[in-house]
């Protein structure tokens, strides 16, 4: 009886560790392969011709056509700067500056990657402060300055895509200049 209990313990620990760790590692690269800056994360080698095994598994899991290294890089945020999951019931302010890029887009999407609003914003369409910083509101209701309208219920993800960027190219010094996501009010 004791042997059977120990065997069950071994199997539970093995399966929990094996599959749990795999899920955790591939969710947003929290173990290997990803870069994290505040709420933003990206898989550094997802657009490389020779991705590491974790990135290769991530590519297989998402089925996405990733940006090539010379095209740009995509960063995603599932939570605000305080670590709370993004909710469509809340209004968020995206504040700060973005890394150097020819242009960028910011789009809210659902868990399956489909857009949840009529449009996102791009760097060529927004009003900026005198110092070049951005202030973008993401909410269901009308908001001042630059506004991204979202629709529906539940959680969502913000996708910031930097095209033709020097980020991670080795010639940029602005790795950490990512905008904050600040939760303002919730319905």
């Amino acid at each position: 009886m004791r042997f059977l209990l120990n065997l069950v313990l071994l199997l539970v620990v093995a399966l929990g560790t094996g599959f749990g760790l795999s899920w955790y590692a591939l969710s947003d690269g929290r173990l290997f392969g990803a870069y994290q800056s505040g709420p933003w994360s990206t898989w550094l080698r997802s657009g490389a011709p020779d991705p590491d095994p974790y990135t290769r598994a991530y590519l297989a899991r998402t089925g996405a056509l990733q940006l090539g290294l010379s095209e740009g890089i995509q960063l995603i945020a599932n939570s605000d700067s305080d670590g709370k999951p993004l909710s469509r019931d809340c209004r968020y302010r995206i504040d700060g500056s973005t890394p150097t890029a020819t242009f960028w887009t910011l789009v809210p999407v659902a868990a399956d990657g489909s857009p949840i609003g009529q449009s996102g914003v791009s760097s060529s369409q927004i009003a900026r402060a005198n110092d070049g910083s951005i202030q973008i509101y993401v909410s269901r209701g009308l908001a001042p300055y630059n506004w991204i309208e979202i629709a529906g219920e539940g959680s969502f993800t913000l996708v910031l895509t930097l095209y033709d960027t020097t980020l991670f190219s080795g010639i940029s010094s602005n790795r950490t200049t990512m905008p904050s996501i600040i939760r303002e009010a919730c319905a």
């Binding site: 209990l5 120990n6 065997l7 313990l9 071994l10 539970v12 620990v13 093995a14 399966l15 929990g16 560790t17 094996g18 599959f19 760790l21 795999s22 590692a25 591939l26 657009g47 490389a48 011709p49 020779d50 095994p53 974790y54 290769r56 598994a57 590519l59 297989a60 899991r61 998402t62 089925g63 996405a64 056509l65 990733q66 940006l67 090539g68 290294l69 010379s70 095209e71 740009g72 995509q74 020819t102 242009f103 887009t105 789009v107 999407v109 399956d112 990657g113 489909s114 857009p115 609003g117 009529q118 449009s119 996102g120 791009s122 060529s124 369409q125 996708v159 895509t161 095209y163 033709d164």
Partner: protein
């Protein structure tokens, strides 16, 4: 108690082994990877599919940026080297070549000095050897890409500067010519 701890430690080690097996075998076992999704929208090679307005589409299987427009084509290099030809607007565009496992074999943008004309040849290792031996005739200025496998996907991304020109940009992408070079 000590024996139970040893079993738990054994479970932990076995778990790490399972983790490594999952990570290493997932690309081969995935049923819904890039290749399966491309095969759904593009059953045949040398065809092109456009993703014009992903904001209004219900699904975005390739998780593409909906602010851009796209042309995706599939090439089978067993039928000869692939060639992708297009004349595109001056605003930002890029092109990426993917293997069946979704890895990016090659990518570039029009900021790299290509200008408005895209003329890219895709060769497998055998064809690259023939090319080096000058046994394949190609156009001067052809951008040469070597692919490790015979089936590749090519995605052209085009960024309309404003919504008003989106339809015209889609028409430009619709003229993308994706074919095999006769050798």
């Amino acid at each position: 108690m000590t024996r139970s701890l040893l079993y738990a430690l054994g479970g932990l080690l076995l778990g790490l082994l399972i983790h490594l097996v999952v990570i290493l075998t997932l690309p081969a076992l995935a049923q819904d990877g890039v290749a399966a999704r491309v095969d759904t929208v593009l059953p045949d090679a040398n065809r092109t599919v456009l993703f014009g307005d992903l904001h209004t589409d219900d699904a975005n299987p390739f998780r593409l940026d909906p602010d851009l427009t796209y042309a995706l084509c599939k090439l089978n290099l067993k039928q000869g080297p692939g060639e992708v030809v297009a004349t595109l607007p001056t605003s930002f565009w890029s092109v990426a070549v993917y293997g069946r496992d979704g890895t990016v074999i090659y990518s570039t943008t029009n900021r790299d000095g290509i200008g408005q004309s895209l003329d890219m040849g895709i060769f497998d290792p055998g064809q690259t050897r023939l090319l080096a031996e000058q046994k394949i005739d190609i156009n001067a200025g052809l951008l040469i890409v070597e692919a490790p496998s015979d089936e590749v996907f090519v995605l052209v991304r085009l960024a309309p500067p404003q919504a008003a020109v989106r339809a015209r940009y889609q028409a430009d992408l619709a003229r993308l010519n994706c074919h095999n070079i006769k050798i």
